[in-house]
Amino acid sequence: MSNQYVERGLSAPVNVTWEVTYACNLACVHCLSDSGARRNGELTTEECRKVIDAMAANKVFQFSIGGGEPFVRSDFMDLMDYAHEKGIVTCISTNGTMIDDEIARRLAHNLVYIQVSLDGARPQSNDAIRGRGSFRKALRGLECLKKRDIEVSINTVLTRLSILELDALADLAASLGAKFRVSRFRPSGRGKRSWGHLNVSRKQMLSFSDWLSDHMSVSTGDSFFSVTHEDRKSLGLNMCGACKLTCCVSPLGEVYPCAFLQENEFLAGKLPEEAFAPVWMNSPVFQSFRELEIRSCESCDRFELCHGGCPAIAYHTQKRLGLPDPGCLANCVSPKMPLSGVA
C-alpha cells in the first residue's frame, strides 16, 4: 500500500460508501445504522442524481452502496444505471431478499459487484440475527444472481454465533460461485445494543485470525487488518481509509468519515446543498481525522500492519478517538478497557 501518497491526501475519495435509505425489510440485531423505517429528509431521486453528479465530477471511482436495504427504494435501479452512465463502479450491499429474476437481469452490468449478507449457513442461525425467513429469501436472491453470472460475495459479520459456522458459510459461498467475505462487528447503530452479547471474545478473535490464515481467499473488508497475520497484509488495507480513501454519505446526504461514525461530532457536510470537494478537502472533521495518530501503538512491532486499527471501534468502545483498536491481537490494549466479551 502506498501509504505515503494516501496520507498526504488524495484530491477525492477512491470509494464513497453511500447509504441510500434507512428503510429496510429486515431488522438485523447488529445493524450498523439502526435501519428499519424510512426517515424524513431522505434524499429524493433528483437529489441522489446530484450526489452522483458531484462524485463523478470529483472522479470518485466507486460507490459502496448500502442502507437500509437499497432495493427498498423504488428508484434504486435507475440511480444505479445513472451512476454507471457516469462510469462509477457500484458495489451493492444487500440482504438479498428482494432480488428476483428481473432485478438480477438489470444488475448484470460490468460495473456492478453485489454483496449479499448472511450471518449463518443455516436458516436457524442466520434468522436468529437477521429475522425469520431471511435465509431462504436471501438464498433465492443468490440463485437469481448466479443464473446471471453476476459477481457476488457473501458477507458475514463476525459474531459469537457466525464464527461457529465460518467453514459452512465458506462452503455455501463456494457452492453458489460466490466469494466469501467476513467483516468485523462494530458497535454502531443497533450494534451498540447487541455488542455485549454478540462481539467475539479475544480467544475467538485469535481463533479467527488462525482461520483466516488457512483461508487466504476469504477477504476481510476495509480495516480488518488488525486481526490478520503478516502473510495476509498484502490482501487489504493496512490502515484506516476514512477521510483518506473513503467517506460516507448518509441517506439524508450527510457526509461522515465512515459508515460507522455517523455521529453528530463527525458530521462534515451535507449534500447536495454543499459542494463535495470543499467538504472533502477542507472540513475540520476530515482534516483532524487525517491527522489522527494512535500514539500508544506506534512502538508496537505490529504498527506497520495495522496503524492502530479501526478508529470507529475505538471510539464506540472508549468514547474518544486516538486510542488503539480494542480488537488488537498484540495485547497492547489494557484488559481494563470497557469491552464486553473479552476472555
Binding site: S2, Y5, Q62, V89, L235
Partner: protein
C-alpha cells in the same frame, strides 16, 4: 478496497519518475503508437502523479509521475512521439531522457495490464 502495488520512487528534483531502464528498451517503443486504458481501468490526476483504479480486484495503482504524463494521453488521441515532443517543448528537457522516462512508465503500465497500445498506422 484492496490496495495495490505501489510504484516506488527515489527523490529526483528534475524528473519525478526515476524508474530504472535502458535506451535499448526505449528504442523498441514505437513512436506511432497510441495508448488507451484497459477495460475496467480509470485514472485521475493527483498531486503525486496518476492514480489508476482497476475494476478487477478492485486495485489501486499509484504512479508518482508528477505532471509528466497527463490523463488525456490515455484517450488515444496523441501518439507516443507527440507526447514526447509536447513534454520536451513544455519543460525544455532533453528528448532522450524524456523518452526513456515515458517509455518506462508505459512499459510498467502495460505490464500491470492497465493500458493497451495500438499502432495508428
Amino acid at each position: 478496497m484492496e490496495s495495490a502495488g505501489s510504484i516506488r520512487s527515489r527523490p529526483n528534483t528534475r524528473f519525478p519518475a526515476p524508474w530504472v531502464g535502458n535506451r535499448s528498451e526505449s528504442k523498441a517503443m514505437r513512436s506511432n503508437f497510441v495508448y488507451r486504458l484497459a477495460g475496467g481501468v480509470q485514472v485521475r490526476r493527483e498531486e503525486f502523479g496518476l492514480l489508476f483504479y482497476d475494476y478487477r480486484g478492485p486495485r489501486l495503482h499509484f504512479l508518482p509521475s508528477k505532471d509528466l504524463v497527463d490523463v488525456q494521453f490515455f484517450d488515444g488521441q496523441k501518439t507516443h512521439s507527440e507526447l514526447i515532443e509536447s513534454i520536451c517543448a513544455e519543460h525544455d528537457w532533453p528528448k532522450g531522457l524524456v523518452s526513456d522516462k515515458v517509455n518506462q512508465i508505459l512499459e510498467l503500465l502495460k505490464t500491470k495490464g492497465l493500458i493497451h497500445e495500438q499502432s495508428v498506422c
